[in-house]
């Protein structure tokens, strides 16, 4: 839904990721942008240029934090040092919600720095939801979890990915960052209908939507965030907002990053679909 308890009852429009190649343009030209998403880990430092730039951005723009290493799905306990640094950043940015991925990526204190896929089991859902709750209690900010793209499925899975996502967010009572590009990528890699996914997630829990481009290889698709959004992903986006209402939307473009105007222009295409589907 447009504004709900999972996104702090905000009504953000279309944003883009804050990336280093665009810093100077943003700080000098001060373009009109609904909001920026930052990668939390890039700013969980003690000082220096990253925080200096962030503070300047915060003076002008709304910022939402997106994490890549909380690893709610890892069996090990949450990293206390990570949480403390994250909380300090939450206080700095006043992010109305905080997102990270529904994945795992660390074992016994060693980090992969990847978003590894979950086995879709009830055991995994219960353990993951428990960690999400623990993180939310500590951070005191709504947490939303993002579906990842994946390239592998496990023998032990007991349900579909969207059923697993639903199981986790309902057990944790948290929101969803629905990445429609990831749905598309995974649907091609695993042979399911992406509309089934979009149609069956609990729409009232969708706090934010991600759109992005990807790379096609001979036998699989990789989520590379280095291309414009393709039409089938826009179609999924259109269906998603038809079901959720106009929802805070963010374009991810992380590699071979073009000019600020090109990235922002690509993101703003989302408004056409919002206007068409929900008349906003």
């Amino acid at each position: 839904m447009p504004a709900n308890r999972f996104n702090g009852f905000t009504q953000y429009g279309v944003g883009i990721g804050l990336r280093i190649p665009h810093y100077n343009h943003i700080l000098e030209k001060k373009p009109v942008v609904d909001w920026f998403e930052i990668i939390s880990e890039n700013f969980m430092v003690d000082g220096g240029r990253p925080l200096h730039v962030l503070d300047q951005i915060l003076e002008q723009y709304r910022v939402v934090q997106h994490g890549v290493s909380m690893y709610f799905g890892s069996v090990e306990r949450l990293n206390r040092e990570h949480l403390k640094r994250l909380k300090a950043l939450v206080k700095r940015t006043k992010t109305p919600w905080l997102s990270d991925h529904l994945c795992w990526g660390s074992v016994d204190g060693t980090y992969s720095h990847d978003l590894l896929p979950m086995p879709y089991t009830f055991e995994a859902a219960a353990k993951t939801a428990q960690k999400i709750r623990a993180a939310r209690d500590f951070l005191e900010v709504p947490i939303v979890v993002e579906n990842v793209s994946s390239y592998a499925e496990f023998h032990t899975s007991e349900m579909s990915e969207w059923e697993f996502l639903t199981e986790v967010v309902e057990r944790a009572d948290c929101g969803i960052l629905l990445d429609v590009n990831n749905i598309y990528v995974s649907s091609r890699n695993h042979g399911f209908d992406p509309l089934d996914y979009v149609n069956h997630v609990p729409h009232e829990r969708v706090a934010q939507i991600h759109i992005a481009g990807h790379s096609k290889f001979e036998k699989y698709i990789l989520d590379t965030h280095d291309h414009p959004v393709i039409d089938p992903v826009w179609a999924l986006y259109a269906r998603a907002i038809e079901l959720t209402g106009p929802t805070a939307t963010l374009l991810e473009w992380d590699d071979h990053i073009p000019s600020f105007d090109e990235v922002h222009g690509e993101a703003l295409k989302a408004n056409r679909y919002v206007a068409e589907k929900v008349g906003a």
Binding site: V45, G47, Y111, Y151, E153, K219, D223, E252
Partner: protein
Amino acid sequence: MDLDHIQHRMFDAVRQPLTATERMRQRTRDGRSLRGIAEEIIKPNDRLTSFERLEIYNRQYWFRILSALSEDFPGLRAIIGERPFEKLAIAYLLDCPSQSFTLRNLGSRLPLWLLSHREYIAKSERLALDMVRLEWAQIEAFDEAANPRLSQEDLAGLGPDPRFHLQPYVRLLELSYPADDFLIAVQRTKEEEIDIVSNAVTERTTRSRAKRPPLPKPEKIFLAVHRADYSVYFKRLDHEAFAILCALRDGKSLSEAVDSVDWSNRSVEESSAEVQQWFAYWSAQGWFCKNA
């Protein structure tokens, strides 16, 4: 198979080093079949075997961390060469995998690790050891905390023999080579700064084709790696100034720090004037702070 077992099995497989052609190897380093591990936990599909699906993650793991380490240590890479650096990086990352939520800390243990793995830097050992310390100091100086500076009033109010605290972002290095000049020359060829955001890595970072600057000749230097206006700088120091700063950093009082230096080649007046000049510069740079 429970979640814990799956994650241990898969993570162990993902961390196995790649073959020379950057593919997943057939067996783990201790001889277990990776095909067997893959088939045990991962389903095949109509295009990819279990092994091939696991391989995607194995390759991405190595591509990501090797690229990150390579970007953090361009000077070391330039000194020993691309291929030797890659061998070094793989060995280091097998011994010291990331134990931090951020890739920023990936190289934190490299300076110490290299001291006991000198075979990877045998041709330029001293210079390489200097460079790895300098490059890690540069990373720390970039984003370490900046505590409130000592103001003129604070300085005036200090007792007769104060203890000064250095800013956390100031790093002091004694080097056997002018590694600072070499690193600056290497960085001039460096491409754009990047940040870590993407989930997927499709290929290794393209290797630099820039011509390597000439390797420096041995020359003892004393260096402060510090930050000003959010940029990192290298400041060469006199031996005596370096010794005073090290003593202050280590908690010595001002008189203890000054007395720790051998002034035998200077008059009292000369040394006194120099110490005053140094302190004026360090204070102006904001290197002294209220709380270490």
